[in-house]
């Protein structure tokens, strides 16, 4: 009986935490602080965890998979591994964007220099007829 109460408490606590994180993620997207495109994998993960916690069938399957005595530790470990994958996915996106930003920055510098040179040529062309 005690075990069941403990499990229920754990599920309720986890559901509350996931809901909190999910609302926070959605709020970040809503206020334009996080791109929906970048947040999609996190939102999918949070919803998947929520479904897992709410569904009795899935929860039972998880318990039988992890073992009754180590369910909480096992669930925590699975969650941690999943978060590591999500973080790696985010790092991949950051790396890709950093490379793109570097290239844009470099091209901008090269274009600026060409523009400066053209403006200089233009100025000298304009001033030449005046001096003649």
């Amino acid at each position: 009986m005690n075990k069941m109460v403990e499990t229920m408490q754990l599920r309720t606590f986890t559901i509350a935490i996931i809901l909190l994180v999910l609302f926070y993620t959605l709020n970040l997207v809503r206020t334009n602080r996080l791109s929906a495109h970048l947040a999609i994998s996190w939102i999918i993960a949070e919803v998947a965890f929520l479904i897992l916690m709410l569904s009795d069938h899935l929860w039972s399957a998880l318990i039988s998979f992890l073992g009754e005595d180590t369910t909480s530790y096992g669930a925590f470990l699975l969650g941690a591994v999943w978060i590591v994958f999500l973080m790696l996915d985010s790092l991949t996106r950051i790396s890709s964007l950093t490379t793109k930003l570097k290239e844009v920055n470099q091209e901008l510098a090269l274009a600026r220099e060409r523009l400066d040179r053209l403006e200089e040529m233009n100025r000298s062309l304009v001033s030449e007829p005046e001096s003649n």
């Binding site: 930003l101 570097k102 920055n105 470099q106 510098a109 090269l110 220099e113 400066d116």
Partner: protein, 234 residues
């Protein structure tokens, strides 16, 4: 052969006038370009006032990103040789021809100006202990990875042939890129050569190679090398 000096500069407004006049008073006249790495001082203004083209980076990219911008410029402008030349006044303009010569003669694709060549080391140059340890470490790593012995892996005073700098215009490491760049050149079968040069201490301003960066340098080298050895696309 057209030679371009690539001068990466971050807050080097005080050092640039002497450096530019040093380049111009020598018997060989070199074209130069200053890469202003988002300086907060008047680096770009000072360089432009001295008649040197300036590539102004809108955001700070660090030495690797700045130098790569110079390689892109050199490739676009049709230069035959590109020389990396620090904006802090450490490199002696009198030694430019020493490192350009072997590239000009087709003896190497990358010539490194070294302070530590055995029997011909620059005894006047004082290297801080942490930097020296970092350099021995990266030299050892490079030797393990390639079998090539380079005495001054951290030297930023280098001359590159057109094929070599065109390669770097496409791919170049970002942070503390010197040792990784040598590994990349070796992987692409470019010929690397070292020649002894004299270097001076930084004239004015502060080095960006801080204590923390020096401590992390070996780790960066290891990770950078592993990345390059695993990456088949470079």
């Amino acid at each position: 052969m057209k030679v371009l000096l690539i001068i990466p500069a971050h807050n080097e407004a005080e050092n640039l006038p002497a450096l530019i006049s040093g380049i111009r008073t020598r018997e060989h006249s070199y074209d130069a370009v200053v890469i202003d790495d988002a300086s907060s001082d008047k680096t770009a203004y000072v360089a432009a006032r001295h008649g040197v083209p300036v590539l102004r980076l809108a955001a700070n990219l660090g030495i690797g990103g700045a130098v790569q911008t110079g390689f892109k410029y050199a490739a676009f402008k049709g230069y035959d040789i590109a020389v990396q030349f620090d904006g802090d006044g450490q490199h002696d303009p009198a030694c430019i021809e020493t490192i350009v010569g072997p590239v000009r003669r087709g003896e190497a694709d990358c010539v490194i100006g070294s302070r530590y060549m055995r029997g011909r080391s620059d005894t006047d140059y004082e290297t801080p202990l942490l930097r020296r340890i970092g350099m021995y470490f990266s030299s050892g790593m490079l030797f393990l990875a390639t079998g090539v012995h380079v005495t001054d892996t951290t030297s930023g005073f280098r001359a590159l042939s057109r094929p070599a700098f065109e390669f770097f215009a496409r791919a170049y490491p970002v942070d503390h890129p010197e040792a990784e760049a040598l590994l990349m050149l070796h992987q692409k079968k470019f010929h690397i050569l070292e020649v002894p040069v004299k270097m001076r201490g930084r004239v004015r301003g502060e080095s960006l190679f801080t204590f923390t960066k020096a401590l992390l340098y070996p780790l960066r080298v290891i990770i950078g090398f592993i990345g390059l050895l695993l990456n088949k696309q470079v």
